[in-house]
């Protein structure tokens, strides 16, 4: 009778210190945004959603997606499983952040423009990005064999990265040729310094959160794969 298998190097109740710091950071930014930042004249308190919305949007697209794309290219070149796990984790955390954008966007829009959805260029592009990342996860879910799953995901990741500029181009072209109701844009350059500080703090806090979640998700993926290997050895 073989003794029960214990997965190596698991710290039972390890809490990633970075995750704690990140969450504390986000909470602090919220407090600052809600209590200590002036209310914007034209949009009212709803403008404060911007601090979450814009940060999440930026990070989801540029950090999450780009990381996923780069990890995909490197995986096809180096065939290192770790890179596949990085891509997987970046895609999943990116999906969470993108969902935040798609939820906060309409909330903000309803308050500012009176409509939940106006096919605003950036929000529409983000919607398509969301579809792409969902497709990425569906693909991963549909392939059982690890090597093939990694290869397929990497191919999709790279093609998706190539697609994003086309989506942006098409949506922006559509928007400029189809005049939409005049929007109140977030006036980034002329933000008073207090707002700017909150804005950048929010961005930094969310970036920290992204990295912390990425690391946690990566650990989960590593443990899952190690477990699968051990189970197969036993079989």
């Amino acid at each position: 009778m073989t003794p029960p298998v214990v997965a190596p190097s698991v710290q039972r109740s390890a809490r990633d210190p970075l995750l704690v710091v990140a969450i504390v950071g986000v909470v602090l930014v919220y407090v600052r945004a809600l209590m200590f930042t002036p209310i914007e004249a034209m949009q009212g308190p709803a403008q404060k959603i911007l601090y979450i919305h814009a940060s999440a949007a930026f990070i989801a697209l540029y950090v999450g997606f780009v990381l996923m794309a780069i990890a995909s290219i490197l995986y096809l070149w180096l065939k290192d499983e770790k890179l596949d796990r990085v891509a997987e984790s970046a895609a999943e955390v990116g999906l969470a952040f993108t969902t935040v954008v798609l939820v906060t966007g309409p909330l903000w829009g309803k308050t500012i423009w009176g409509a939940w959805w106006t096919w605003d260029a950036r929000l529409t592009s983000t919607l398509f990005l969301w579809f792409i990342i969902v497709a990425y996860h569906l693909l991963r879910g549909a392939v059982d064999e690890r090597g093939r799953r990694a290869r397929y995901s990497a191919v999709l990741g790279i093609l998706a990265a190539l697609l994003v500029p086309f989506i942006h181009l098409s949506v922006y072209l559509f928007r400029t040729l189809h005049p939409m109701p005049i929007l109140l844009k977030p006036s980034a350059p002329s933000m008073p310094s207090e707002m700017q500080v909150t804005f950048f703090s929010a961005f930094f806090a969310f970036l920290l959160l992204f990295i912390a979640l990425l690391r946690t998700r990566y650990r989960v993926a590593t443990l899952r794969d190690q477990l699968a290997d051990l189970e197969q050895e036993r079989a």
Partner: protein, 233 residues
């Protein structure tokens, strides 16, 4: 001439082919026996260029496996599955294979191959209407139409009736005499030993026995094989 040196192939951490080496000269036939899961099919797929080795190398008539297309040109594969297109006729299937290999006068070559396997009278029948045994014959015709120098057969006698088995043995012998090397995986020791010049037993990715046929006594080999295979469970 086929030279395999320390071939390795891993799947999810497990070595399906583990340090396999052998040499086949023109006219050699290696009969490969072994229990299910021993790695025989994987070895064949490596030599056919369908899988890339994780370690080691192989040369087919001087061309390394890494050379890709140039190595694949020399190899013919007969596997469990028929590798045929059901909607197309036997002739169309074999002709397609001939053209993909660049055989001159593909149509005539296809007919010759079908005739060698005694199935030329069904040349214009859609393959999916043929019995399993006849499909197997067409599949073998497809594998030999380009005159491969290395013919890999994965349990080729499965599903063949007496006539088909006779046609196959005749074709294999003809290929050998034309200077090709053969590697035949089979569970039927008698059939395998009949055409072999070398015999090997594969277990867990390794060749646990490998010797020239003439040194073997068929009945003794059979009982030894049963012991070896039984150990695996």
């Amino acid at each position: 001439m086929v030279q395999a040196e320390r071939l390795v192939r891993t799947f999810s951490g497990r070595r399906a082919v583990d340090d396999v080496s052998f040499t086949l000269h023109a006219g050699d036939c290696l009969a490969l026996f072994g229990p299910n899961g021993a790695g025989k099919t994987t070895l064949l797929r490596l030599l056919a260029g369908l899988l890339a080795p994780g370690g080691g190398r192989a040369l087919v008539h001087g061309v390394a496996l890494e050379a890709g297309p140039a190595a694949r040109a020399q190899v013919g594969l007969v596997s469990h599955a028929s590798m045929l297109y059901g909607t197309l006729t036997a002739r169309e299937n074999v002709e397609f294979a001939a053209r993909m290999h660049g055989v001159p006068d593909a149509a005539a070559a296809a007919l010759r191959a079908l005739a060698a396997m005694r199935v030329e009278d069904r040349a214009d029948t859609p393959v999916r209407t043929l019995s399993r045994g006849l499909q197997q014959r067409v599949s073998i015709a497809r594998a030999i139409v380009h005159g491969p120098r290395l013919l890999l057969c994965d349990e080729p006698y499965t599903g063949l009736d007496e006539a088909g088995a006779a046609a196959l043995t005749a074709t294999l012998v003809e290929r050998r005499e034309a200077g090709a090397a053969l590697l035949v995986v089979t569970h039927n020791l008698a059939e395998g030993l009949e055409i072999a010049t070398q015999a090997a037993i594969m277990r867990r990715g390794r060749f646990v026995r490998h010797e020239a046929r003439e040194l073997l006594d068929a009945s003794a080999y059979q009982s030894q094989y049963r012991e070896l295979a039984a150990v695996d469970g």
